[in-house]
């Protein structure tokens, strides 16, 4: 892969700098640690949700304002699956819980992927190249989807409690670090590493990276990039579904509007990261997660605004995001 000197390292410093800046403001070291882990966990979950969207945009120039739908779908599917596996989630042992959680994740991803396939075929494909229509239609698609969720699961919020063994916290000195958050960080890292591996070490990944830069040339080299796009879209939807499951467990409840709610956060993340950049999405997501938790503690009323301020700040520094994708 690349030589270290070629990687633009300055943006990598953003996350630690933000974390360090918050320390004096928060005061106590243990609170800072709790908040930071919470922020990283939240950021990782957001990354899982956002990574698919940024690739879809980068590769095919498609603005999917309906991405939140797959997140909501994943979360709701999880409520059904976990609800049905009450004895497994009620058990106090880790691996018993995983027997319930893992299938929940996989089924959620499968459902989201299937819906993603239909979404691409019927909603996105007809409006190729027309940004305005894409915005309108994908929003319309999300609304339809949201309403269908209400039809299937009902319009009210549904609780999604954490399985027994995942509750509670680990104590590190004075800091209480929730077990689930550590799991989230682990899963997020795994997804990130898997993505980087596919992008960097496989030919498919190579095609995606090249396609993000210059779609025409990739076609001129004889590759049917259309099919690749459908694949990326479906994978992105599946990841959103996974993110939905984790987000639902993080909040411990799900509402049909959650897709729309998270949409805004995800857009902020991919704008900060640069449309089309996985690494950028990770940085953006971690920053948003940290920011949300720090301001949640320091000045709760400013939470959403703080993320917008963050986005504005990054854009003033780099108008195309942290890692803009070259030649468009």
């Amino acid at each position: 892969m690349k030589f270290l000197e070629d990687i633009d390292t300055r943006p990598l410093l953003l996350v630690p700098v933000l974390a360090l800046l918050a320390w004096p403001l928060i005061g106590s070291g243990s609170t800072w640690l709790t908040l930071t882990v919470a922020g990283l966990a939240m950021g990782m979950i957001i990354f899982i949700m956002a990574s698919g969207l940024t690739l879809v945009f980068g590769l095919m120039d498609v603005l999917n304002f309906g991405h939140g739908l797959f997140i909501a779908l994943g979360a709701f599917v999880a409520t059904s699956v976990l609800g049905a596996m009450g004895d497994w989630t009620g058990s106090g042992t880790w691996w018993h819980n995983m027997v319930a959680v893992l299938p929940a994740m996989l089924i959620a991803m499968a459902v989201a992927a299937a819906v993603g396939l239909a979404f691409e075929r019927f909603i996105v494909r007809p409006v190729y190249g027309q940004h305005l229509k894409q915005i309108l239609i994908t929003m319309g698609g999300m609304i339809i989807g949201e309403e269908l969720i209400k039809v299937i699961w009902g319009p009210q919020q549904i609780a999604l409690p954490l399985p027994e063994a995942m509750r509670g916290a680990v104590l590190w000195g004075d800091a209480a670090i929730e077990k689930y958050r550590l799991l989230a960080v682990a899963v997020g890292l795994a997804v990130f590493v898997a993505q980087m591996w596919v992008l960097g070490r496989t030919k498919v990944g190579l095609l995606i990276r090249a396609g993000v830069q210059d779609r025409e040339m990739v076609e001129s080299l004889g590759y049917r990039i259309r099919r690749l796009f459908v694949g990326v879209f479906v994978a992105g939807s599946a990841l959103a579904g996974l993110g939905g499951v984790m987000w639902g467990l993080y909040q411990q409840n799900v509402v049909p509007q959650m897709g729309a709610q998270v949409n805004v956060l995800i857009f902020i993340v991919i704008i900060i990261g640069g449309l089309g950049s996985t690494g950028g999405a990770l940085i953006g997501a971690l920053m948003v997660g940290l920011m949300a938790n720090y301001t949640g503690f320091l000045a709760p009323k400013l939470a959403l605004f703080s993320n917008i301020a963050l986005m504005a700040g990054v854009l003033l520094w780099r108008p195309q995001g942290v890692y803009p994708v070259a030649n468009r």
Binding site: M1, K2, F3, D6, K203, L206, L207, R209, A210, Q213, D214, E216, M217, V218, E219, S220, L221, G222, Y223, R224, I225, V325, A326, N327
Partner: protein
């Protein structure tokens, strides 16, 4: 097997409201290097792009051998064993030189599967490609990028090479490398369609020549004949070969 690998008959191309190609008739004989010459704006690049399906011909027929490829999409056309090097080289600057080459080698799943012998051949002609193998292609100089672009077209055997101004802006020393490369390619039996503005380049390499002006081919024939006829050169291109 017909003697012409690529034939264009009465091809018109519209881009939006602009009518660029006004009935292009072009034949590219098999195994030869056909030069496509003409002033800026004559429609040379548009012709190449239309052949590759990047722009659609609004009228006319494009045939590869006996097959009509006019309505095919770009990947399908490229898969007919055609390599295309566009005017802007089409280098993926965020990818390494190796990755650029790997992309062009359709049948290779990873770097190890690329044809070693061909790679050595390319390295001998264009040492810079070997030198910067693991570096991002964006770090290469303009000339080196052009060499990489041509190398990509060579990494696997192809029937037809379509190349748009490979020597643009190159220093004279490097141009000689290019000429060597094309001569070796010709010797290997590949058919080449080359757009050029560099007269020296054209004269050295061209077997057949076609001259375009205002979206039409206004002269077609042997390069030899054109090279000897100064008056014809003057009228077609405004300068002597």
């Amino acid at each position: 097997m017909s003697t012409n690998l690529l034939t264009l008959e009465g091809v018109h191309t519209h881009i939006g409201a602009y009518h660029i190609l006004h009935g292009v008739d072009l034949v590219v004989p098999r195994g030869e290097l056909t030069m496509l010459l003409g002033r800026n704006g004559a429609g040379k690049t548009t012709t190449l792009r239309t052949i590759m399906g990047l722009w659609s011909a609004s009228q006319g027929r494009i045939s590869l051998g006996a097959e009509d490829i006019t309505a095919l999409n770009t990947p399908a056309i490229a898969q007919k064993n055609i390599a295309y090097v566009p005017e802007n080289m089409g280098i993926f600057s965020d990818l390494t030189v190796k990755e650029n080459m790997l992309l062009a080698a359709r049948s290779a799943k990873n770097a190890a599967q690329m044809d070693e012998a061909r790679l050595q051949w390319i390295f001998k002609l264009f040492p810079a490609v070997e030198k910067f193998w693991n570096h991002p292609a964006g770090k290469l100089s303009g000339g080196q990028k052009q060499m990489l672009a041509v190398s990509r077209a060579m990494v696997e055997p192809r029937d037809l090479l379509i190349i748009d101004e490979p020597s643009k802006g190159l220093a004279p020393a490097i141009i000689q490398n290019m000429i060597d490369a094309f001569q070796q390619l010709k010797a290997s039996g590949v058919t080449i369609l080359l757009v050029e503005q560099n007269i020296h380049f054209a004269q050295q390499l061209g077997d057949t020549v076609a001259v375009m002006d205002n979206g039409r081919v206004v002269h077609a024939g042997r390069m030899q004949a054109l090279a000897e006829d100064k008056a014809l050169q003057q009228s077609l291109l405004g300068l002597a070969l």
